[in-house]
């Protein structure tokens, strides 16, 4: 039973499952299915195959080496830590921003949304380097603060965890805001009015009527951000200054420089399993939350 799509929008009543029959859909879905199987699932199988290969035979040596070298798991752990922090920042700021957008007039709303979308037009690499101009030791912020006499020495915004989190949050933000905004705008205003007419305070209306209706969209956007953060490469490489080890950067070394694809594959599979586990927890929570709702 798959009801994954339901998390993307509010669960409005009346969406009847249409069973037109998969045969009618096949000509339309077929090409995509082939592409996904050959272009995505096939290579993952190849990676699984690599992870169990050693000198022409199948074995567990790569996984044994991984288990015997604590640094691999520690880098994966560090990746999850940065991911959780980044996602938290994105979720809090993104939610506030999306909520604020819904309160604007139609005209202003479109302008603000355009400003959010416009960031997609600039490459990740450029946006990452731009932070150096803004937050570097000789950047705008530090120069202004020094000039104003607020600080004696430049603040180290970059080349640490903070820099990586700022850079990654900046890039992930629109991915959270857009679906969240779409869900917020669909919340039936009459629910809020009904709550108000029954004497609920603004705060109560938000937390007990509005917020619960946006949880599914928030949860699925957060999931998207988490999954993208886990594989981030460019931003940690540049804004981390080599001090924030992330798994994608470590894999780059083991794929491109060494190149020990078998070991890199084993690390990738372990990361994939961790991610799947996380996804299953999310599905559980989602089911639990929606069960409570109904």
């Amino acid at each position: 039973m798959d009801r994954g799509a339901s998390t993307l929008g509010p669960r409005a009543a009346g969406t009847q499952p249409r069973s037109r029959g998969w045969k009618a859909a096949l000509p339309f879905v077929g090409p995509l299915l082939v592409l996904v199987v050959l272009g995505f699932n096939g290579p993952i199988l190849l990676i699984v195959n690599y992870s169990f290969s050693a000198a022409g035979t199948y074995s567990f040596v790569n996984y044994q080496e991984l288990a015997a070298t604590p640094v691999f798991l520690r880098v994966i752990g560090n990746t999850f830590r940065i991911t959780v922090l980044t996602t938290f920042v994105v979720a809090v700021l993104g939610y506030i921003l999306a909520y604020w957008i819904t309160s604007l007039s139609e005209r202003t709303r479109n302008i603000v949304l355009a400003l959010v979308v416009v960031t997609f037009w600039v490459s990740v690499l450029v946006r990452t380097y731009a932070w150096i101009v803004v937050l570097g030791n000789a950047g705008l912020v530090n120069r202004t603060l020094l000039w104003a006499g607020a600080i004696d020495a430049p603040i180290a915004f970059l080349y640490n965890d903070l820099g990586v989190i700022i850079g990654m949050a900046n890039i992930q933000m629109p991915l959270l805001i857009l679906p969240l905004y779409a869900a917020m705008i669909k919340v039936d205003q009459r629910h809020l009015q009904a709550a108000a007419s029954l004497g609920a305070s603004e705060r109560t209306i938000f937390w007990r009527v509005f917020f619960p209706q946006t949880i599914p969209a928030l949860a699925s956007s957060v999931m998207l951000v988490v999954i993208l953060c886990l594989g981030f490469y460019v931003t940690p490489a540049i804004l981390g200054g080599g001090r924030v080890p992330m798994v994608a950067n470590m894999l780059d070394t083991y794929i491109n420089s060494i190149p020990r694809w078998e070991l890199a594959s084993a690390v990738s599979i372990v990361l994939l399993l961790f991610t799947l586990a996380l996804f299953m927890i999310y599905r559980r929570l989602d089911k639990w939350a929606s069960g409570e709702e109904a």
Binding site: P43, G56, V71, I132, N137, R243, N256, S257
Partner: protein, 342 residues
């Protein structure tokens, strides 16, 4: 199922499928594909070597970049490489030999002009000499050696060095007083101890060659280890070749290339040995070619800029890549461990 068969099935069904059986269909060589570092380096290859090569042979040169070592392995494993020449650093050439990824060169078939002996490797032609040297902002106090470079007390400021043990560990050992002659085999404990001492002054461990000049210009750091071609001739940045690491860019033939492709590659190699071509290439990016006559052809005022001129070559060192081939794996793990705590 046998592993080999399973691999084949996966390959046939996977992303590599469409590539198989493409190159073998061509009988006459119309183009020579070279995988190289990209950027200015590629422009230098075009102007210096590809142009005269195409004029003489009619074979077009197609450049590809970047030259990730993993790509070479992928080309060889595809069993149908379309790329014939692949640029490798000294370290990756040693690795490629150990893994059997490159063809042996029949030097008797290459109409080569005189070159430095190390440029004529059995498995690659050294075509470009570059250094990893110390550079600093001209307004900072000038260091003379790696000890000064890492001495933040007398040379105040932030540092940036490569996030790569092949470069960083020798620097650390030289800084702790080991001489160039006694550098190898590397004393890993001493090298990591030195890095532990100085890591608080290193604000960026760089990954891309473009980073150090940018960090220096933005005053993000005052001292940086950099590839020579990135900083030589840049306003506001000073450098020295003293105790720098001299490195050679090689072009090697991808294992499994057809004989026709290999013959074309041999003709291209001839152009790589011509000092006149090297001067054209060096005009685009200040790295030297492999000819001992190169120094005579460049103008006197700029000889100090190039890594291989007599004065510069004698104060530098080559890495011992046999040592690195034997130890790369364990050093890399220790490096990743170190990276978690810096």
């Amino acid at each position: 199922m046998e592993r080999r068969t399973f691999n084949k099935l996966l390959l046939a069904g996977g992303a590599l499928g469409p590539v198989v059986g493409f190159a073998s269909a061509q009988s006459q060589v119309r183009e020579l594909r070279i995988n190289e570092g990209g950027g200015l380096n590629g422009d230098a290859i075009d102007a210096g070597y590809a142009k005269p090569f195409t004029e003489k042979t009619g074979i077009k040169v197609v450049r590809e970049s970047p030259n990730n070592f993993g790509k070479l392995r992928a080309l060889v494993e595809s069993k149908s490489t379309t790329t014939t020449l692949f640029e490798l650093g000294t370290a990756s050439l040693a690795q490629a030999k150990a893994l059997g990824l490159v063809e042996k060169i029949d030097w008797s078939k290459v109409d080569a002009l005189p070159v430095y002996p190390e440029a004529k490797d059995d498995y690659g032609i050294g075509y470009q000499y570059y250094s990893t040297l110390m550079a600093w902002r001209t307004d900072a106090k000038a260091p003379k050696n790696w000890s000064d470079f890492f001495n933040a007390k007398d040379f105040p400021g932030k540092r940036s060095i490569p996030d790569d043990p092949v470069y960083a560990l020798p620097m650390a050992l030289l800084a702790s007083g080991v001489s160039i002659e006694k550098l190898y085999p590397l004393d890993l404990d001493a090298a990591f101890k030195k890095l532990e001492e100085v890591k608080k002054d290193i604000s960026v461990w760089w990954k891309a060659g473009a980073q150090p000049p940018q960090l220096l210009r933005d005053n993000e750091v005052q001292y940086a280890a950099s590839y020579s071609g990135r900083v030589v001739g840049q306003p506001g940045i000073s450098y020295t070749y003293n105790q720098a690491n001299l490195n050679i860019g090689y072009l090697s033939i991808v294992k499994g290339s057809s004989q026709a492709q290999i013959d074309a590659a041999y003709k291209f190699m001839r152009e790589l040995t011509d000092p006149k071509n090297q001067v054209v290439a060096a005009d685009i990016v200040p790295y030297s070619g492999n000819s001992p006559d190169f120094e005579k052809l460049i103008d006197k005022a700029s000889t100090s800029k190039f890594p291989t001129t007599a004065d510069n070559k004698k104060v530098q060192y080559f890495n011992d890549y046999d040592w690195w081939t034997a130890n790369a794996d364990s050093v890399q793990k220790r490096w990743q461990q170190f990276a978690l705590n810096r």
